[in-house]
């Protein structure tokens, strides 16, 4: 489901765009949103449920700072295109893997591994190498230059408002 197949009202657009950060840590955070949008608290909750069910909203909650909670790394493998689905499936089986994307490059499968400890992280990567027989490119974050203020959404004209 995407912008083409789900009709978004102006209110829903604002809900998606304007509340990506600073959700108040107040007993009734959705009521705070409701007041800003001029709708009821239960309408906000309903909209969020619908947007979540439609996949537009991943969740309402925190984004954790990388490596402050647990340790994580980006990793990549170069696999035969004909084997990518199978290898991706093998990698996805690890609960420590939370992103896994195909990308256009010799290194064509990119994933993020997050674990509680460095040794657990190493173990997962070594295990992936053992099971797939493919060397993993390990690219941990050294510096973060991105100030996460949320993502300003541009709405395309053809979308019904």
């Amino acid at each position: 489901m995407n912008q083409e197949t789900i009709k978004l009202s102006k209110t829903e657009q604002r809900l998606l765009n304007d509340f990506q950060r600073d959700l108040p840590l107040d007993p009734r955070p959705f009521n705070h949103i409701a007041e800003q949008l001029g709708v009821t608290e239960s309408e906000v909750i309903e909209m969020l449920r619908r947007l979540k069910a439609g996949g537009l909203v991943s969740r309402v909650g925190p984004v954790f700072t990388a490596n402050r909670v647990g340790v994580s790394t980006l990793a990549a493998v170069a696999v035969e295109p004909s084997e990518i689905v199978e290898i991706a499936g093998m990698i996805n089986r690890y609960p420590e893997v939370n992103h896994n994307y195909e990308r256009e490059h010799k290194f064509n499968l990119w994933f993020v591994v997050t674990a509680s400890t460095t040794s657990q992280l190493r173990q997962v990567i070594e295990d992936i190498e053992l099971k797939t027989g493919i060397e993993v490119l390990v690219l941990p974050m050294l510096n973060d230059f991105y100030i996460d203020l949320g993502f300003p959404i541009e709405w395309r004209d053809q979308v019904e408002h």
Partner: protein
């Protein structure tokens, strides 16, 4: 470390497990979480405040999924930037509104010469490429190699799960070096 401090940390750890997949979509989400954990609503709110204040939580709100919003093309754009200017260029790129991640990562020679990673979302490939051009224009005086890795299939995407995670209060606010040494895989 006194007992009070320890228990607040234990609560934070439990709380991370509760909120990482998102708040329950109910009128009083913090009260519901408190109920699950057997603590009070204000303890939950205070612990979340602490996690925000000390930088563990970078952002707290509605987390959208770009592809479903019509941003059908996205690319990881990687740059081979001289080490002496990577911080300056990283700051510049990291502040561009269409960039959603900007990290320095190690090179892995000879296979991987790139040390600066940006993520760019666009409606289509041209939209992404146009934004890559806008990043280049931010540093007109220098030309460095880059590669644009458009995303193909998404095999998995969800927030990280830290359920059994311990919180590391000693972690620096800005991490310069990593626990994982660049030569982890030799």
């Amino acid at each position: 470390m006194n007992t009070e401090k320890l228990s607040s940390q234990q609560l934070q750890t439990l709380l991370i497990g509760e909120v990482e997949a998102g708040l329950p979509l109910v009128p009083k989400p913090y009260a519901e979480i408190a109920n699950r954990l057997g603590v009070t609503e204000s303890q939950v709110i205070d612990a979340l405040e602490e996690l925000k204040a000390d930088g563990c939580i970078k952002r707290f709100g509605v987390i959208v999924r770009h592809r479903e919003l019509g941003y059908l093309a996205n690319a990881m754009v990687v740059w081979d930037v001289p080490d002496q200017s990577v911080n300056k260029i990283g700051e510049l790129f990291g502040h561009a509104p269409f960039v959603t991640l900007c990290y320095r990562r190690p090179r892995r020679m000879p296979n991987w010469p790139y040390n600066l990673f940006t993520m760019i979302h666009g409606f289509d490939r041209n939209h992404v490429l146009e934004q890559v051009g806008r990043l280049r224009d931010l540093v007109p005086e220098s030309e460095f190699p880059s590669a644009t890795l458009f995303s193909g299939r998404r095999f998995k995407q969800r927030g990280a799960r830290y359920s059994s995670t311990f919180l590391n209060p000693e972690a620096p606010k800005t991490r310069i070096s990593s626990d994982i040494k660049p030569n982890l895989i030799t």
